[in-house]
Assembly symmetry: C2
Amino acid sequence: MKINSNIPPATVKRLPLYLQCLEQIDKATGGISSKKIAEIAKVNDAQVRRDLSYLGTLGTRGVGYDVSKLRNQIELELGLVDGWTAIIVGIGNLGSALAHYGGFKERGFKIVGLFDTDPKKIGKQLAGLTVKPLHEMKEICAKYNVAIGIIATPEKVAESIADDLEVCGIKSILNFAPVLLKNKPGMQIRSVDLSQELQILSYYLERPSLKIAK
Amino acid sequence: MKINSNIPPATVKRLPLYLQCLEQIDKATGGISSKKIAEIAKVNDAQVRRDLSYLGTLGTRGVGYDVSKLRNQIELELGLVDGWTAIIVGIGNLGSALAHYGGFKERGFKIVGLFDTDPKKIGKQLAGLTVKPLHEMKEICAKYNVAIGIIATPEKVAESIADDLEVCGIKSILNFAPVLLKNKPGMQIRSVDLSQELQILSYYLERPSLKIAK
DNA sequence: GAGTGTGAAAACATTCACAGCT
DNA sequence: AGCTGTGAATGTTTTCACACTC
């Protein structure tokens, strides 16, 4: 089992998609073709083959890919077998949703801490964890060697939480607050803006107003 | 005010990002340069100029862009001024988070209905709306001319909800359930998988196991 | 026959670098 | 002097098409 650490970014973005496909097909199916994956993932089949070829020679000509072998290899490439630990900061509706979200555990991410500043939330039990105040963050991060900090706070405090996470030695942030965080050297930051997809969708909607223009 | 309906997809994806930038800068600032936008959005400044040039000749050489004029034009291009209405199906933690999410309203999307199958949730008041059973969906969709259906249900029922939305005449779906929905002719579907970004992040994390491989 | 893996072509996207305007 | 808008160059991604293997 080898890891190719030089996969094109466009391909890296699609690997989780393929993983989802493999999970979704009939569990009894042992093998699958690029054509079938392409159909479920809604991409071109040559694309699928090219993407998977970066992970090594995994398929069998004339036959297809072995589902579990393929899954293992994608998980290996994405580093999902390393068992990353994460904490969530901001336990409102979104933070709670993330804490309960089965997809994280299923993908090898373990949530080991929930934090909030609101005294009403501190002490609450949630998804098998107790919500803790911010000043206990450093201890938890050290104890569990936390790799990822997930920000689900209101936008006003997100930047300061990012600073706190940096102090705790965290090297990666997944930010759900609708704010563009400042760059921090040595820190990987990815932001998910829940309204962004809706805005993109809007561009491709049939618009009454377009009939007037053009 | 003209709409250029032929903007490259890569640019469309960045327009919401620029909008976020503009919202985030000091409200007092009347003008902004491509260099400043690039810095906040963490992209190349030539990229910003090229992207914005698709919207028309908006800047002033030697000066920069007028913030409010730029914002208006981006909103116009994205169709955010058309006042889309949306409904949310599945009022768990994620659905509640989405219902309360200020970013939707701010971007011109109006949530006009919340739906769930759970009798315990039906009747609940949330973000100024009452949670309704599924069979009232069609009526609400017709009444408010709903354009977008947001799915925030567990994965098992997501596909059948998508069918229901189709029956209600909805033409666009934003799916938060971790499942790849089947294609429906004439239907725009975008999926947001909350764990996907975490998986991409994982690929770029420093891995202990990589020291062994290679 | 069926389906992978991959050169080569085509399409798309980014970046440079600078003329042109304020 | 400062900053846009954009040709031209470069880099990346997608797709075609087919030799090759089972």
